[in-house]
Symmetry: C4
Subunit: 125 residues, 4 copies
């Protein structure tokens, strides 16, 4: 099956929402875009790591077969929310292979700035 | 031969065209830049995955030996078009090894913002 | 354990601080975001390479178990500082596996521009 | 030795120079940032691929031991120059392992926009 079962994004930081705070598409945010290209549902456990406290989670995520999910970190709320303007990192563990890409939109100053990278993938042992 | 036969871009999103909608180079778009560095023509099948419907495609792409193709997602139209402002992901399967890089230009607010990453590559089994 | 023990960022360049020089978050900077997802402290040696002189370092970095560190290159000062507007590259060697992502914020002209990529990882022999 | 001997950047495009055309740092450009972390000089052959003509090169590049080179694509001129506003891709073949990262600065509209990614690396056979 295509993909890997563990993915890591070391660079997490949700900037201040900025002047478009009322617009879901344009407010500052981070996303983990996940593709489940396989024929089984993916059950993913997400843990969030910080610089100065124990990890949060696991957050439980399910992705149907042959579907993509653009997961917004600024909208996580169970078991807790991720504060803005705080350094974090994330680790995804899936029961079937998936592929994860990281994206940030920074709108703090009223123009859009983007970054993106494939996450770091590894197969669990 | 240099490259891999399967490539995945989980983070697909074509922003609204923005104020330069009449300028092909400056309107918001996404591209998959593909290099076929080998001496055989590459025949590629592209499938597009969504969050809430079955995948689209396959789109058929051919790249001559030792040529690059900067494929615009906003210009795909056979068997269908990809709507703007919609989450998607893409999977490329080639009969010979190639290399794929993902790029977006977001011009929604009238300035340019770019993101790019190598896609996730794997050899088919 | 998740991660790799050697990481490389070839593209180092800290732009001029720009008009927000007094604001730590908004002045131009580069960061290496490092996650230590494992249960042992990571001891990392960082060396900085230049185009025209011998490498600087090693800089000594420790990261507690299950913690992330967003290391600012513009704040390194022991054994030396990295000058702005100078090409450099960095190599991280850790005693336990970690994951490293590279990010730059360029604020030279008063708007924000971002780039990011996973660093290149390899296991030491 | 750390690194790989073949590197590919599929997404090449040097935008129009823009309003800062006289400023080397701020005019639109692309760079391949290469680190030679090893104790031998790296001799690299660079070939440039296009969409509609045979490849250019090889361009010959040497990098001293433990040095980095931020190679500007807009300054290549032997055996030929790379035109702006033209799709291309690049392949690096080195006699010793190196690491390559791709960066673009797009200043067409007078603000800065950046993209970067690690290139695709593979060991030659």
């Amino acid at each position: 099956m295509l993909g890997k079962t563990q993915w890591v994004i070391p660079e997490g930081f949700i900037p201040a929402a900025g002047p478009f705070a009322d617009d879901r598409a344009l407010r500052s945010h981070e996303a983990a875009c996940i593709l489940n290209p396989n024929r089984e549902t993916a059950h993913i456990q997400l843990r969030i790591f910080f610089s100065d406290r124990d990890p949060a989670g696991p957050f439980q995520i399910s992705i149907e077969p042959e579907r993509t999910m653009h997961l917004r970190f600024d909208e996580l709320d169970d078991p807790e929310s991720i504060p803005r303007e705080t350094d974090y990192a994330s680790v995804f563990e899936s029961d079937v292979p998936v592929i994860v890409q990281h994206t940030r939109l920074d709108a703090r100053l009223g123009s859009l700035s983007l970054l993106s990278t494939m996450a770091y993938g590894e197969d669990g042992k």
